[in-house]
């Protein structure tokens, strides 16, 4: 029987290599489910918003709820200035949410369980936030690492800590999401294995697995929210220097 880690294997569907760099860019099961996620989002917005009316249909309500949710998140954490980056935050939220939720379907691949995917997104968020901060405030943006109202002699200690905590942000973002997804799926797979192995008594791990699936769906939504809201908070640091 397949081990609990088999579900995370990236299997090429179509092998592709970018010759000049010798770069492996095969279309894999990971890419397939990213495509499925984008397809679902496109379908949802296309069907939900065609002939969008004042009295929304069910699909339109879903679109509007997603929009209002992300918009409220940006407004609460960044303010009106942050609405310029609403498309980016919304894309980030939807990409992670869809990845997490598609992963809850047995047999699918959870692309957000891979540290390279989440780390890449985290690094991009931090680079984007830094670029925005430098563009808005110039070198004054560096005062982010030297909070005011602190005794002078603390600065030699404080500034390195602030810099490290800033640089560690993409890793904390990435680890939080990928590890949550991985751990949840391993747990589900393990309990799923027990159901078969224990025969008639498999009903017990089955019940546990049922509960765990509910929990995992909550975590899937929650981690997408956490990633997006932390990105908003970092964006807020860049836009409204404290």
């Amino acid at each position: 029987m397949a081990g609990p880690l088999e579900q995370f294997e990236v299997k090429p569907i179509m092998t592709m290599v970018f010759e000049p760099l010798g770069l492996n860019m095969s279309f894999t099961n990971s890419a397939l489910f990213m495509a499925v996620g984008v397809g679902i989002a496109a379908w949802l917005f296309k069907r939900g918003l065609e002939g969008a009316s004042l009295v929304p249909t069910r699909l339109q309500s879903i679109c509007e709820m997603l929009y209002e949710f992300v918009r409220g998140m940006v407004l609460d954490n960044v303010g009106k200035e942050g609405l310029r980056y609403l498309p980016a935050i919304m894309t980030l939220f939807l990409f992670i949410l869809l990845g997490n939720l598609i992963g809850m379907i047995p047999g699918t691949f959870t692309y957000t369980s891979h540290i390279v995917v989440t780390l890449f997104m985290g690094v991009c968020v931090i680079i984007a936030v830094t670029v925005i901060g430098l563009a808005r405030h110039g070198t004054h943006f560096l005062s982010l690492f030297a909070p005011s109202g602190v005794p002078m002699f603390i600065y030699p200690l404080l500034i390195p800590i602030e810099i490290v905590s800033y640089l560690i942000r993409p890793f904390s973002l990435a680890m939080r999401l990928a590890v949550n997804m991985t751990a949840g799926h391993i747990m589900l797979k393990t309990f799923g294995g027990f159901v078969i192995a224990m025969g008639i008594f498999g009903i017990l791990p089955f019940l546990v697995a049922v509960g765990l699936i509910g929990l995992e769906i909550i975590i899937a939504c929650l981690q997408a929210y956490v990633f997006a809201v932390l990105s908003c908070i970092y964006l807020n640091d860049a836009i409204n220097l404290h």
């Binding site: 880690l5 995370f8 294997e9 990236v10 090429p12 592709m16 760099l21 010798g22 770069l23 492996n24 860019m25 095969s26 279309f27 894999t28 990971s30 890419a31 990213m34 495509a35 996620g37 984008v38 989002a41 496109a42 917005f45 296309k46 918003l49 969008a52 009316s53 004042l54 929304p56 339109q60 679109c63 509007e64 929009y67 209002e68 310029r84 980056y85 609403l86 498309p87 980016a88 919304m90 894309t91 939807l94 990409f95 692309y111 369980s113 891979h114 540290i115 390279v116 995917v117 890449f120 997104m121 690094v123 991009c124 680079i127 984007a128 670029v131 925005i132 563009a135 990928a178 991985t182």
Partner: protein, 211 residues
């Protein structure tokens, strides 16, 4: 603002590309190493597939492709329509609320007008009633006065008539007394006495009685 946004987007995109290239370089380097030693060694040794660096480049490439695609879907398809429909709804709601407030003000104005009219009508009616009452009272007083005078006249006339009647009655009584006295004297003394003599005698008696 749009230009600035474009600039930001370009910046973000440049950042993504930079990171992508660096990741790709690392991945390419490690992948070639892995190829030489043992491809997919992580799977067989029971390690985590997440740590199999040979898959990193393809994951990142497709992540960028689909993330940019989703960004296009969100920014070109979803957000413009969503902001539009929500703006329309808010407009409609605030418009309806304004209209409701207007109609309410109108209704209130009509009601106050109606109340004013009602109060006016009440006041006019009260005035008419008062006038009417005064006129009736005047007429009554006049008629009473008229009645009084005519009654007084009638009483006076009646009194006059009564006085006259009394005088004639008294005269008649005197005449009757004289005749009776004549007849009595005739019976008593058997001879007729002159009428003037009897009258005189009676008047003397009356005078004496009166004194």
């Amino acid at each position: 603002m749009m230009a600035r946004f474009r600039g930001m987007a370009a910046g973000i995109f440049a950042g993504i590309c930079l990171t992508l290239v660096s990741f790709a370089a690392i991945a390419a380097e490690t992948a070639s190493e892995v190829d030489v030693t043992e491809y997919g060694g992580a799977e067989h040794s029971g390690g985590m597939p997440q740590l199999d660096v040979s898959t990193y480049s393809s994951q990142v490439v497709w992540l960028v492709i689909f993330f940019v695609l989703l960004y296009q879907v969100v920014s070109k398809l979803a957000l413009p329509q969503l902001t539009e429909v929500i703006r329309q709804r808010e407009e409609r709601i605030s418009g309806d609320l304004d209209k409701a407030a207007e109609l309410r003000a109108e209704a209130e104005a009509a009601y106050s007008r109606y109340e004013a009219d009602l109060a006016d009508a009440h006041a006019r009616a009260q005035l008419r009633i008062k006038e009417l009452r005064e006129r009736i009272a005047e007429e009554q007083a006049a008629r009473l006065a008229e009645l009084d005078t005519s009654m007084a006249e009638k009483i006076a006339a009646a009194e006059q008539r009564i006085g006259k009647a009394r005088e004639t009655a008294m005269a008649e009584v005197e005449g009757a007394a004289v005749e009776t006295a004549q007849a009595a004297i005739e019976r008593l003394i058997g001879s007729k006495v002159g009428r003037d003599e009897v009258e005189r005698a009676l008047q003397a008696v009356v005078k004496r009685e009166a004194a």
